[in-house]
């Protein structure tokens, strides 16, 4: 079954050891990625969206590890791979662009040197071929005078330029999957527009699949085919962009959309989500969102809801949908 997917994450659990105890950052996340798809993962800080992405690449911090679950790339389980196999996978099959272009480049090496490293490691190119490929990649991401740029150091470039270099580096070996972790959060809005435009163009040109991790609902709405909404290390809702934005079925998603200014009626009062973000050290027994949910029922406090299909393009993990379905079927009233 899973052979047809480019990437299939199955029941992923990732946790971190800390001084205050074990933090379950990701709790049973499953999703599939098709070739050429743009998948958005949206959530607040601490929702586990970045950790999910890092788990796929196996670049977790030293105190973090994948506890259980499978990550299948073209049907092969990455969790059983050795470090050597993984370093082949990173860059060649799947690469990542980080949030902060100021810190993710090495300040003491030139752009050409860092870009060349990726090319030398993953291809058979040597010497001048490496340099030519680096220049070609910089041209692809819209950097002018690439011959001059490859001799420069990161501090000589602006934030937008550095992010272009990061994208060039990620795409140098033509990976099947590009993971972008908050790629435009550190950038100004006009520069963000440039980078998003570039990513859309490159995706069309090269046809790779993209996993876009962000907290910005605007960026998600603009870019993604499918969206996953995460809260407290779990997926609470998933579906096509139109389903998530126009027909949200999880109370958290509904709350998020109510708490941002409405473009059609800017002066409408915002409806905030009550309470504070979840403490991952102390997860509730039931639904992670139950303490902040206005519509929480008794069962929400004690039992975690399973994902339920709303329609073929949309699934949500919320007891309210279960109740509504049972009521529609005329079954038990007391869920």
């Amino acid at each position: 079954m899973s052979e047809q997917y480019l990437l299939s994450v199955q029941d992923l659990h990732t946790s971190f050891r800390t001084d205050s105890g074990e933090v379950q950052a990701v709790n049973g996340v499953s999703f599939n990625l098709n070739p050429g798809e743009i998948l958005g993962i949206v959530g607040e800080s601490g929702s586990g969206k970045s950790v999910t992405a890092y788990s796929v690449m196996q670049i977790l911090a030293d105190n973090g590890s994948i506890k259980s679950g499978h990550i299948l790339y073209k049907g092969e389980d990455l969790t059983t791979w050795s470090e050597k196999q993984m370093s082949h996978f990173r860059g060649k099959c799947c690469s990542i662009v980080f949030q902060d272009p100021m810190t993710s480049l090495n300040p003491v090496f030139t752009i050409g040197n860092q870009l060349g490293e990726a090319i030398r490691l993953h291809t058979n190119r040597k010497g001048k071929e490496v340099r030519d490929r680096a220049i070609e990649m910089l041209e692809l991401v819209g950097i002018n005078e690439p011959e001059k740029r490859i001799k420069q150091y990161p501090f000589e470039l602006s934030g937008g330029m550095r992010q272009r270099v990061m994208i060039a580096m990620a795409l140098a070996c033509e990976p099947d999957i590009l993971i972008a972790d908050e790629p435009t959060t550190a950038l100004d809005v006009t520069i963000q527009a440039q980078i998003l435009e570039l990513m859309q163009d490159l995706q069309k040109k090269l046809g790779m699949a993209v996993i876009l991790v962000t907290h910005d609902l605007g960026v998600i709405a603009d870019m993604c085919d499918n969206i996953i909404v995460m809260y407290g290390g779990r997926i609470c809702e998933r579906g096509t962009a139109r389903e998530i934005f126009y027909n949200p079925k999880h109370e958290y998603t509904k709350g998020l959309l109510r708490s941002i200014p409405n473009v059609n009626n800017m002066k409408k009062k915002l409806v905030p989500i009550a309470g504070t973000p979840i403490n991952m050290l102390n997860l509730p027994a039931g639904c992670a969102f139950c303490t902040r949910c206005d519509a929480a029922m008794k069962i929400c406090l004690s039992e975690h809801p399973e994902e339920m299909a709303i329609n073929e393009n949309h699934r949500a993990a919320c007891w309210i949908n279960v109740r509504d379905q049972l009521m529609a079927e005329g079954g038990e009233q007391n869920v």
Binding site: S45, T190, G218, A221, P261, M266
Partner: protein, 319 residues
């Protein structure tokens, strides 16, 4: 009593930057900025990082000594001499709720400090009562008073910062990116609180932010800054529906809108290149290097902010 609370006239703030052994050159962070804010009004100030919007806010409160120009608050010119007195009426809420609160002070002392400075109580009991009242206003519990800032989440810390600003009962608050460090679900709580406080206390805001959607929501009027200058000021809806300056047009089109159908249907005006260095500004209009409509005139002379009707001011040679 006039309707205008704050008037900023030709405000200039240049910072000296070393350019060689003996030489310094001025970095024009704010260059000839003028605007007014009415009583109980919110003026939004937007622009990209480095455009000088935070410096405007800080210079109004004399956290920096201005290079030139004048700030008139409630008919009185703000000077270095009367600033302590003026800060009884003008306050500031800072961007980063993690670094703007002293980690060694309890919440009670943080909120009480402005009361101490301006001697706004006659005995300990009154001080304590005032602090608890302020904490209730911003939605903090009385038992939080003895805790330290690190024990609070970002949203709660921002509430402490707001309570501190409100302590002197000001007429005007500079809000410098007050919600950008907060999660989306918490942002709405804080934005609603700013709005409720304005309704209740009639306080005016200069709301500085880079998130245009938030600014459009909270502001009556919006001023757009680019490289130290205001390029456009208009009513919030007017600015959105009828942006006149090419920079405003591209800025508005670049904001991703959280609505798939709308955001995918619109045409993005992508600006070429980066913002020029403020140390090496282009001659004439500072936006001309990235402008689609730039002409020879733009290179020669800097356009002044002129009224195009109904309080819509634009600084552009193109009509």
């Amino acid at each position: 009593m006039s309707d205008i609370l704050l008037e900023v006239k030709n405000l200039k703030q240049y910072f000296p930057v070393r350019a060689g052994l003996m030489k310094t050159i001025p970095l024009k962070a704010v260059d000839d900025v003028s605007f007014t804010i009415g009583r109980g009004e919110t003026l939004g100030l937007v622009g990209e990082s480095g455009c000088g919007k935070t410096t405007v806010g800080r210079t109004i409160l004399r956290l920096y000594e201005p290079t030139g120009g004048e700030v008139i608050f409630d008919g009185e010119s703000v000077t270095a001499k009367n600033i302590t007195h003026m800060r009884k009426q003008m306050q500031m809420v800072f961007q980063d709720p993690y670094s703007s609160l002293d980690p060694r002070m309890t919440v009670e002392d943080i909120i009480g400090e402005p009361l101490d400075v301006h001697k706004l109580y006659s005995n300990r009991k009154e001080r304590r009562e005032k602090i608890l009242e302020l904490m209730a206003t911003v939605g903090l519990n009385a038992e939080h008073a003895t805790r330290y800032a690190h024990e609070f989440s970002g949203g709660q810390r921002q509430r402490i910062g707001i309570a501190r600003a409100l302590a002197v009962n000001p007429k005007f608050i500079v809000c410098d990116e007050p919600v950008s460090a907060l999660d989306v679900s918490i942002q709405a709580q804080v934005i609603n609180m700013f709005e409720e406080l304005q309704e209740k206390l009639g306080v005016a805001y200069l709301f500085i932010a880079h998130d245009l959607l938030v600014v459009r929501h909270i502001s009556k009027r919006i001023a757009v800054m680019y490289l130290g200058k205001i390029v456009e000021v208009a009513d919030s809806d007017e600015l959105n529906e009828n942006p006149q300056h090419p920079y405003t047009q591209s800025l508005l089109s670049a904001v991703p809108i959280p609505d798939p159908d709308i955001t995918r249907a619109r045409q993005r005006i992508v600006l070429e290149g980066d913002v020029p260095s403020p140390l090496n500004m282009p001659t004439g209009c500072s936006f001309r290097t990235r402008c689609r409509y730039a002409t020879e005139q733009c290179a020669k002379e800097c356009p002044a902010l002129t009224d195009r009707g109904d309080g819509h001011f634009v600084a552009c040679w193109n009509k």
